[in-house]
Each structure stands twice: as C-alpha cells, then as structure tokens.
Amino acid sequence: MSDLDDPIIAALGDLAGQAGPPRLRVDATWRAGRRRRWAAITTSVAGAAAVAVTIPLAVLGGAVHPVPVPPVPGAVTGDRATAYVANGSGTVTPIRTATSTALAPVKAGRLPQAIAITPDGKTAYVVNTHSGTVTPIRTATNTALPPVKVGHGPSAIAITPDGKTAYVANSGSGTVTPIRTATNTTLPPVKVGIDPFAIAITPDGKTAYVTNTTSGTVTPIQTATNTALTPVKAGPLPEAIAITPDGKTAYVVAGEGHSWMTVPISTATNTALPPVKTGIEPFAIAITPDGKTAYVVNVVSQTVTPIRTATNTALAPVKVGIDPDAIAITPDGKTAYVVNEYLGTVTPIRTATNTALAPVKVGRFPGAIAITPDGKTAYVANTHSGTVTPIRTATNTALPPVKTGIDPAAIAITP
C-alpha cells in the first residue's frame, strides 16, 4: 500500500496545515456548542460541506410518529397495503406489505427526506429537500404527479386527520407551506421561526405545531385560517415533536451541552410546562396509543426515557444499543421498537414493564422505522445497506431484507 501513501499524506498534511492556532477556553463553564455551530457551518462552507452533507438522514420529525388514524371508507387495505420508502437518491420504493415485495421505484425529486400518506391512503407526499418541492404519488397506480413547489429546503411534512391539507416545513425559508390535497395547490406560506425542523398536528386537526430549532421555539398554526400564533419558548434547539392522542399535550425534545430535556406544551393554553430531564441528546419521541407514556430516545446515553404523561415524570431509563435514533410503537401499545443505528439492531421494549428484549439484527446504519396498521410487521430502513428489513413482531425475528434505492431515509405505510 506504500505507493498509495504519498498523495494522501500530502493532502492530509495540506489540510492539517490550514489549521490556525487554536482559540481555546478550557474551563468548567464551557458548554458544548457544536450542534448549533455545525448548522451554520454546513451552509457557510458551500463547497466541501455541500458534498459531505448529502448523506442520508433520519426518520422522524415530520409526521414523526403520527397517532394512528382509523381507516376511512375506501382506504387502501388488504393486499394493496403498501409501505413507501423514500430513498435519498431521489426515488420512492413501494413495498407490498402482505408479501414484503418491492415494486418498481417511482421517481421523486432531489434528496427526499420525509414522506406522509393521506388518511384515505390514496396519495403519498414525498418531500424533496434539495428540489424545494413535494411529489404527490398516486398509490393506486404508483405514479408520480407533477411536483408541487414549496419553500426552500423542505424537510418535514404532516397531513391533517381529515386529509385535506398537508403542511410542509421549509427549513431554509422559515415558513410552512400548506398544500390543498384535493388540487395539489399551495396556499400562501405561513411564517414560523428559524430552521423549522419537525411538524405535528393535533388529532382534532385544529392546530399544527412546528419546532423551530435555531429559534428555540414552537410555533402553533391555526389550520382553519393558516395563521401562526405566538411562538412558545421550548428549550434550546427543539427538534422532534409528538402529540398525545387526546391532543392535550405536545412533547418536544430539546437541549444542548449539559442540559437535555423534553418540554411538554399544553395545547389548550400554548404554554410550556416544566421540562422533564432526559438522557444525553434526545432525538426521537413516540407516544403510546393510550397516551399514558411518551418514550424519548437518547442517542448518546444509549437509553430510552419513559415519561409518564399524567404527571410528566421520567421513569428509570431503559438501556438499548449504541446510537439509538428512531422509535415506533405497535398499535396495541405493547411494544416499542428502538433502532440502534451504530449496531444495526432493533431493541424491542415491553411497555408494560419497560424492559428491553433481545435485540434483532437488521442491516447497516438503520435510521427509520414504521409499523403496519395491523401491528404484525415493523419495517426498518437500513441507510447504508440500501434495504428494508421486515421484523415479524409476534416473534421479533427479522425476515430477509428487501432491496430499496440508495440511502432509504423515511418510511410511511398506507393506513
């Protein structure tokens, strides 16, 4: 390998040589600020960072873990039930859940990162971050309709329970674009905070909550009028959000440095309640269908913190694997599945006792998970393998992986 060494060493040496003298302030009061810094860096250093960043991403945000919606008449059911997997490479792979077989990929825009399906199951909306568009896909035929132009850098989507409006958070514009699903036309964008990251809608469909990561706020949007209400302060760097099935509380994970938390927001008054302390770097959240427990996934602590919603108290954290980054709960509420990105495993947690079961091996760097409405199968997207692993929930065994596109990043399943 010695003939390979010289140019690499030279280039590495060049790179190293560009470092200036460090400006350090090493003392006990210093707090990690890398997360915030990085967000700015990725955009200010256009060249190198732009290349480095277009990797895959994650699951959530968006419809994060939507409250299960009861099937509506005419919904896609039975053999036609389909999981839609958005691939970072610009396609969507439909997978028939009855047989776990992949259909021909559907072309989307550049860097799809989020996907949501209307409650009637007829249309899947794919958010193309780099194109600034949303591609509607007719699920009956798996054909893409013309892309809908939204704001800059759209990154999350949620659809109202009546299926009439899709709300798309535009991270680059600081806005939310409502899309009328009947006509696939946009309404005027609603101004929110800086770097909107995730969006969730109350079960009554009256309010959409948007986390503004850089502003450190959550903006409620009245869906009847599409007007933004006064933003609610919610910790530094709020990211994922989930709303209880009764619609009374929105839970937002937030924090930086040495202070990590989940902030409950009362939807009646739009005020933040006292934050609940979680592990280090909470990243994902899901709430049981009975609304009694919110599960917060802590990436660095390698734990899941159950929060009793009645009292907003944290229970003892449950140890999972290395770098957990996504969670989904079965419709019967009995099992929470936590994806361990680094290990390529999924840890089932029995919610009755909050005990972790033996991890299930999936592919490399899994990032997104979704469970079929009948609760029988969990689909896990393996970003580095370009596959989706179905897990039979009855036995917690992995079935053979299904091939998708490159960098499968988000999954949604028809109701």
Binding site: M1, L4, D5, D6, P7, I8, I9, A10, A11, L12, L15, A16, G17, Q18, A19, P21, P22, R23, L24, R25, V26, A32, R34, W38, A39, A40, I41, T42, T43, S44, V45, A46, G47, A48, A49, A50, V51, A52, I55, P56, L57, L111, A114, T129, G153, S155, A156, S171, G172, D195, T213, T214, E281, F283, V299, V300, D323, Y342, F365, T383
Partner: protein, 170 residues
Amino acid sequence: MDERARREFAEFVAARSGTLIRLAYVLAGDQCAAEDLLQASLTRAAARWERIHTAPEAYVRQVMVREQVSWWRRRARRRETIMAELPDQAAVVPDTGADIRITVQMALRALPAGKRAVLVLRYLEDLPEAEVADILGCSVGTVRSQTHKAIAQLRSVLAAAGLTRTEVGL
C-alpha cells in the same frame, strides 16, 4: 483537580494544542468546528486527568476521533436542513499540482464517517492498524477494509473530477 494537576494540564494544553488542532482540523473540516472539537476533548481530558495524565495526548486524540465519528453519524442522522442556497458545484478541471491537491482535499472532506478517520489515523497520525482499530473500537480487519474502501471512494471521486490515477498516485 489539585494545583499540581491543574498546572500539568495547563502545560499540556500550551505545549500540544498547536499539534492537536491539526488533527482536529482534518477531522472536523474547518477552524471553528476544529476548535470546538479540541476544546470539548480537552475539557473531557481535564475531567479525568488523574487517570490519563501519563498519556494525555493519546487520550485526547482518541476522544477527538470518536467524538467526530459519532458527530458525523449524528449529523447524517439528523435530517438535513438548509439555511441558505448552496450553489451547484462547478466541475473541477485541475491542471496544476496545487489544483490536484485541492481536489484531493475536497475528496477527503467528502468521505463519510469512519473512512476519513481511518485515513487520518493511518496516514496523518501514522498509527499502526492495531492502534487505529483500538481508537475506533473496531477490528483490524475493519480498519483494513475501511482503508481500502476509502481509497476506492477517493479514486472514484477523483476520476469523476477528471483526474487520472497517475496524476494523483492513486
């Protein structure tokens, strides 16, 4: 931390930061992120100085690499958001030695989590494979395969930029 440890630590920071920032820079990709990375790692070193004071530099290097690898992963995991328009990249047509080096640097920066760390440790830090495996918490076989893949990836990036193997020695 007692007075002696405090003094030792201050001396260590004063003496070695200029070298450590080079590794931090290659890992993190720019000065701000490099300083954050080094600062965070030194802060951790200070907290456990009693246990690591006999070999603090190895410890700080290891913390920086692990921290950065997990940072890349986290960054990749967090959905990308955009705060300003990024221009499409113009094709690079290098014709001088300096341009080639810049292209190689760009390719290095574009390597994903893990792979850049492997190259940095193997070639810049000149560590044996076993030590790289130890720092990254993986097997020697993984270090080898990651090195191999990283070089293959560099090669394809450079080929796409119009550089031939002989020009860059790959």
